[in-house]
Amino acid sequence: MSFFSLFNKKEKSAGVAKDRLRIAISSDRNNTSYPFMAEMKADIIEVVRKYIQAQSVHITRESDGDVDTLGIEIIIPK
């Protein structure tokens, strides 16, 4: 170890890896909608259309601690 390296200590790459992975995985987990999201959307539209003319359906998935919540927004034309 040279004299200067004492002052210019490089951050350990394992620590960097851990931090980067944490962020990447938490964003993967949040962003990934369920694999069956498209099918579910189509089914919901079909059910709603029995009663009212739905224009589109937006589903959002949010994580809150131990539970995931699904927000379903149905757009109806005026």
Binding site: K12, S13, A14, G15, A17, K18, R20, L21, R22, A24, I25, D28, R29, T32, Y34, P35, F36
Partner: protein
Amino acid sequence: MGIVYAIISGKGGVGKTTTTANIGIGIAQEGKKVVLVDFDLGQRNLDLILGLENRVIYDMVHVMDDEAGLKQALIKSKHTENLFLLAASQTKDKSALVQEKVKKLIDTLKEEYDYVILDAPAGIESGFEHTIMYADATIVVVNPEVSSIRDADKAIGIVDAKSERAKENKKVKKFLVINRINPSMVSNGEMLASADILDILSIDLLGKIPEDKGIVEASNSGKPIILNENSQAGAAYKRIAKRLCGENIPFEDVESFVSPSIITKIKSLFQ
């Protein structure tokens, strides 16, 4: 009734097939009846790792399509009693898999074997989904490396969303095998430590396998490393097998680097 394990990784090349072969032998050595099924259709390799490539006549697709009986297609291990292999098809691809046929095959195997171990293909496509669909538990193999861990997390997510047990609101147990640990790199902070990986993936640890040159030699000769009494990786696989058989084996520290003493170094000069 046997238990069905799917061995998954997400990313390819992390040692999934090697792990399947070694765990299979290890459990069979504990006196249990084990069948290994290679689900990597079109890229069959488990036969090669087990040294059984010359004995494959019928494969799992033949069995599922009733072109061969299960007894005809099962290949007995050369190395171990109680261990059988059902090879993947080399000519047909994953489109040959049909849900009901896969279920029927696994149900039949469960009746006769204590452990049914499915070697999943890499990736998270349909072949992977067929493999995890009827699994009671999964064994996730990772390397201490960012892309492997991220892909594993993705694969775990699919198990939780799509497997039959998950759909019935039952838990699918997941166990982690960390493969190719380089102790000196971990000690120097140049490689993710097992504690960090467990923390990120938040699943249970099943075992840690140190990097071992013997693994390449073992696959060269079709004799899995667990059969090598002097190998550290082999010993680690043995411990995993015992844990899967219900034994309480404490986790060994494979991550601390012990530099060879000066005497061993001098000795090695004369060898």
